[in-house]
C-alpha cells in the first residue's frame, strides 16, 4: 500500500511522461530487434547453453536477482546450472514503453509484483524452443518434451540442447498466449538455489556504484545545509582553490555545494576547509523536545483522520470492567545503508541534443532515468543508466536526490565523468527518516478479560504528506494505518475498534524505511495486546489465539512459532519469553524471543524463533536470510538507534552515536517457513514488524517493565 507511491510529486510527473504502463512478455512490445537466442524479452539462450535471464528490479541484498531468475528458469524448464542474470537497462525499458514493467524495488514487491509476467516470459521461451525443435525434426509439437535445458522427441528419444536450437527458436513468432505451470510441476521455484551474485562479493570484485572508475573521472564531495529547509547563501572558493587536486567549487542546488577534485579524498579534505554561509531558515530552533510536545498534543486532539472504525469505541469502553491506557513512541531513524549515497554522472553536450549517462545504485531504475533527465535538462530518451548492485537500500535508494545532485554537478563539468560520494556524516544527516510517531492506546476488558473496545490514536509524521501530498485522501494518509486493518493485525474479536491519526508533520524529511509504518504500528499494537493479556491474567499466546479465530493464516503462523519455540515449556532460571504476530506486505509472520535481563539491567537475547507464511516460498534459503536480516535491522533500531533534532538538524553523525546491531548482540534466528499456497506474499519487510514487540514483551516478562518508548538504550531495565 504505502509503497505503491515512491516518488515525490516532481519525479512522479517526470516518470509518468516516461510512457504508458504496459506489461509484456512478447518481443512485439520491445523496440529492439530480437537478438540471437532471444526468446521473448526475458531470456536469451546462447549456443553454449548459457541462459541469461533479464531482471528489471534491483538487487540490494534481498535476493530478488536470484528469485526472479528462478521464476523464469522454472517456466523455461531450464537446467539451473546454466542460468545467469543481468539487468534490463532503464533506457531499454523507456524505449519499449516499459515492456519489462515496473523497475521500482520496494514494498517487498520484487517477486510478488513481477510473478505473473516473468513466469509467462519463461513459458514463452519454452514454447518457442519446443516449436523450433518440432520444426527441425518435422514432428508434432505434442511429441516433444522439455526438461533440464534439453528437448526430447519422446517417440524416438532424439534430443536437442537448448543451446543448439535457441537461435532458430528466436526467429519464430512470440506466442501471444501461454499457460504457466501448476505449482505441483515446479522444479526450480521452491528450491534453495544458490544466489547468482555471491562469488564476486567474496573477493572484492563486485563493483558497487561507489567503486566505478572511468577515464578522466573527477570526484565530488558535497555539503548540504545542515538544517532541513535551509539554503546555501555563499561560499569562498578562493580559500581552497590551491589545495591539492581541487578543480572546481560548484553550487549543486539551492542548499548544496560541491568540491570537485582529482580524488574524492582530496575533495572531502578541501570541502572541510571551505567557508560556507548558510541561511538556516525558520527551522533552526527546532529540537526533539519541541517535536515531542507537538506530537503529545496530537494524542488527545479532537481532529484526527479516521483509519478504521468498527462498532462504537465510546460505548464499548464505557461499559468495560477494566480499563487500560498506555502511551508509546518511536524516534526518527536513518536507513544507514553501509554504502553511502553516491552517483557518477557524465554530461555530454551535443548539437543534436545533450546526453546524460549515470552509474547508480537505485531501487528504481525508471525513476533514476527520469531524475537524471530532469536534472540534466535533457530528453528522457537521452539518458543512459548503468544500474549497479546496491550496497544496501532499505527504502532509502528509492529516492533520487543523490542522482539529481550528481547530474547537476556533471552538467557543470561537461564531458567529464564525476563521481559524487556523500560522507557518512552527510548520509546520516540528509536522509528520508522513518517518521517519528507516538500512540495512545486505550482499551476496555469485560469481567472475563475479553477486549470490548480498543482505540489506537497515532500522532506523528506522515510519509505521504511529505513525499506525495496528492495521494492524501481528504487530508488523511491512509498508509499511516499500515498494520491497523483487522486482516493485518488479525484480531477479529474486538467488537468496538477505533484507529485514527492526528497528523503532526515536522520539517524533517521522511520516507519509506524497511517495513515502513508496520514497524511502529505493530510495536504499539503487539505490546499493548500483551498489556491487555497481562491485565486479563491470561497467557499472551492463548489471549491472542482466542481473538483471531476467523483468521486461520494468522493462527497458523502463531501456532507454528509457538510449537517451534516450545511456548509454555519450562525455561532455565532467569530466561523469559515474549511473542508477537502480524501480517504485512501480503505475508503472515510471528516471532518468539527468549531473553535474560541481568541484575544490572543488561539485556541478552538468547534465541529468536520466527515463522512466516508468504503463500509460495520461491527460495526458502533466501527467505530465511531475509527473516534473519529483519531481526538484525529491526532490533538494531529498537535497541540502539535514534536520530534526534538539535537546532533544526540531525544531531547524530556516524555509527559512534547512531548505534546499530552488531554480531555479539545477535542470537541465532530459527526460521519456520509455512507456505500455505494460493497467494504471493512479500519477504523482505513483513518480519521486521514482529521483531521489536517479541523482544519488548519478553523484557516485560523478565522485569515487569513495559518498554513503551524506543530505543531501549534510553531505558533503565534495572529491577527496582
Amino acid at each position: 500500500m504505502t509503497n505503491s507511491i515512491r516518488l515525490n510529486r516532481r519525479h512522479f510527473m517526470a516518470t509518468a511522461v516516461a510512457g504508458a504502463f504496459s506489461l509484456g512478455w512478447g518481443a512485439s512490445q520491445a523496440s529492439a530487434a530480437a537478438a540471437p537466442g532471444e526468446l521473448g524479452i526475458w531470456a536469451v539462450i546462447h549456443p553454449d547453453d548459457t541462459i541469461v535471464v533479464r531482471i528489471a528490479r534491483s538487487e540490494m541484498g534481498q535476493g530478488t536477482f536470484t528469485g526472479l531468475a528462478q521464476l523464469v528458469a522454472d517456466e523455461l524448464d531450464a537446467d539451473w546450472k546454466f542460468v545467469r542474470a543481468e539487468y534490463v537497462t532503464p533506457e531499454a525499458n523507456y524505449a519499449s514503453k516499459r515492456a519489462w514493467g515496473d523497475m521500482s524495488t520496494g514494498g517487498s514487491r520484487g517477486i510478488r509484483g513481477s510473478v505473473e509476467y516473468v513466469r509467462k516470459g519463461g513459458a514463452v521461451g519454452r514454447a518457442m524452443l519446443i516449436s523450433a525443435a518440432a520444426k527441425r525434426w518435422s514432428v508434432p509439437e505434442a511429441e516433444c518434451k522439455a526438461a533440464l535445458s534439453v528437448i526430447t522427441h519422446t517417440p524416438t528419444g532424439r534430443t536437442l540442447r537448448y543451446g543448439e536450437i535457441a537461435a532458430e527458436a528466436a526467429l519464430l513468432p512470440v506466442p501471444t498466449t501461454v499457460t504457466v505451470k501448476d505449482p505441483a510441476q515446479w522444479t526450480i521455484i521452491g528450491q534453495p538455489m544458490k544466489r547468482l551474485d555471491t562469488v564476486e562479493k567474496l573477493s572484492g570484485k563486485q563493483v558497487f556504484a561507489i567503486d566505478v572508475k572511468l577515464p578522466n573521472m573527477l570526484c565530488a564531495a558535497v555539503a548540504q545545509c545542515p538544517v532541513f529547509g535551509g539554503k546555501l547563501v555563499s561560499f569562498d572558493a578562493a580559500k581552497i582553490a590551491k589545495m591539492p587536486g581541487v578543480r572546481h567549487v560548484l553550487t549543486v542546488d539551492d542548499h548544496t555545494v560541491a568540491v570537485v577534485a582529482d580524488k574524492w579524498y582530496l575533495a572531502k579534505t578541501a570541502l572541510a576547509e571551505l567557508p560556507i554561509v548558510w541561511d538556516e531558515g525558520p527551522n533552526a530552533k527546532v529540537s526533539s523536545a519541541l517535536i515531542a510536545e507537538l506530537l503529545k498534543g496530537g494524542l488527545d486532539a479532537k481532529e484526527a483522520g479516521l483509519g478504521q472504525k468498527i462498532g462504537d469505541f465510546a460505548t464499548g469502553f464505557a461499559g468495560a470492567a477494566k480499563k487500560v491506557e498506555a502511551v508509546y513512541s518511536t524516534p526518527f531513524l536513518n536507513h544507514a545503508t553501509l554504502e553511502p549515497m553516491n552517483c557518477t554522472a557524465l554530461f555530454t553536450p551535443a548539437a543534436d541534443g545533450d546526453r546524460v549517462e549515470i552509474w547508480v545504485a537505485s531501487q528504481n531504475g525508471d525513476a533514476s532515468l527520469a531524475a537524471a533527465a530532469e536534472a540534466g535538462g535533457v530528453k528522457l530518451g537521452a539518458v543512459k543508466v548503468n544500474k549497479l548492485h546496491l550496497g544496501g537500500g532499505f527504502g532509502r535508494r528509492g529516492q533520487q536526490d543523490y542522482t539529481r545532485q550528481a547530474v547537476s554537478i556533471a552538467k557543470q563539468v561537461p564531458g567529464v565523468p564525476v563521481k559524487m560520494i556523500w560522507s557518512r556524516e552527510e548520509d546520516m544527516q540528509h536522509g528520508y527518516y522513518r517518521p517519528i510517531t507516538m500512540a495512545k492506546m486505550t482499551a476496555g476488558l469485560d469481567e472475563k478479560g475479553n477486549v470490548t473496545a480498543l482505540h489506537a490514536r497515532i500522532s506523528g509524521q506522515s510519509i505521504l504528506a511529505y513525499l506525495n501530498p496528492a495521494s492524501l485522501v481528504d487530508g488523511v494518509d491512509k498508509a499511516q494505518f499500515q498494520g491497523w486493518a483487522v486482516d493485518e493485525f488479525g484480531y477479529m474479536a474486538i467488537p468496538n475498534l477505533l484507529i485514527d491519526h492526528a497528523m503532526r508533520n515536522t520539517h524533517v524529511p521522511v520516507g519509506f524505511w524497511r517495513g515502513v509504518n508496520t514497524n511502529q504500528n505493530a510495536f504499539y499494537m503487539e505490546c499493548f495486546i500483551d498489556e491487555l493479556a497481562h491485565t486479563a491474567g491470561r497467557d499472551p499466546l492463548e489471549f491472542r489465539r482466542a481473538m483471531m479465530g476467523k483468521n486461520p493464516k494468522h493462527l497458523a503462523v502463531l501456532n507454528a512459532v509457538a510449537e517451534k519455540a516450545g511456548w509454555g515449556t519450562k525455561l532455565p532460571e532467569g530466561v523469559y519469553r515474549g511473542i508477537a504476530q502480524n501480517m504485512g506486505y501480503g505475508s503472515y509472520t510471528a516471532a518468539v524471543a527468549e531473553i535474560t535481563v541481568s541484575a544490572k539491567g543488561e539485556l541478552k537475547i538468547l534465541r529468536i524463533v520466527a515463522s512466516t507464511d508468504p503463500g509460495y516460498a520461491v527460495n526458502p534459503d533466501q527467505i530465511r536470510a531475509q527473516v534473519e536480516g529483519s531481526f538484525v535491522y529491526g532490533l538494531g533500531a529498537a535497541l540502539y538507534s535514534e536520530n534526534t533534532i538539535e537546532n533544526g538538524r540531525i544531531a547524530e553523525g556516524n555509527f559512534d552515536n547512531y548505534e546499530v546491531m552488531r554480531l555479539a548482540a545477535m542470537p541465532k534466528v530459527e526460521t519456520v517457513i509455512v507456505p500455505s499456497g494460493g497467494f504471493w506474499g512479500g519477504v523482505g519487510e513483513p518480519t521486521i514488524a514482529v521483531a521489536t514487540p517479541a523482544v519488548m514483551n519478553a523484557i516485560f516478562a523478565a522485569t515487569g517493565k513495559r518498554i513503551r518508548s524506543l530505543p531501549l538504550k534510553d531505558q533503565d531495565l534495572k529491577r527496582a
Binding site: 567474496l202 534473519e628 554480531l663
Partner: protein, 151 residues
Amino acid sequence: MITLNINGQAHDVDADPETPLLWVLREWVGMTGTKYGCGVAQCGACSVHIDGAVMRSCILQVGSVGDSKITTIEGISATNSHPVQVAWLAHEVPQCGYCQSGQIMAAVALLAEKPKPTDADIDEAMTNICRCGTYGRIRTAIHAAADAGKA
C-alpha cells in the same frame, strides 16, 4: 613518493603521508575491494591486514605503514579458495555484500590467530557492521572454516 607492499607487490604512490590507507588503496592504487563505510573506524568495511593483523584502514595514515605487508581482500586468494571464502559461499553469507570484504578480512585474521575460535572469540573479533543482517551466517561460516582448516 611512498612505496607500499600490497599483496606482495610494490606500489609507488604520490600521496600525502597523512592520507588514510583506505583512500590510497581505492584512489591512488585503484583497488576498490576495500570499502568506505564510516571513516571513523566504526564499521570495519575498510579492514585490511598489516603484517597479518586486522586494521581499519580508514584511520590508518599511509605514512605510518612503512614497509609492513599490506593484505587486502584482493590478496586473500586468486580463486575464492581460502577456507573462509569457501565457507562464506557454502553458507550463502552475503546479502548486499558491501560489508563482506571487511568481514572476510576480520574472519581470516581471527582464524589465523585462533584456528578454533569459540563463540565468545567470534563475538570479540567480529565487530564489523552489517546492515543486511548476515551475522548469524558469519558465525556459522567461521565455525565451518575452522572445522575445514582442522581437517
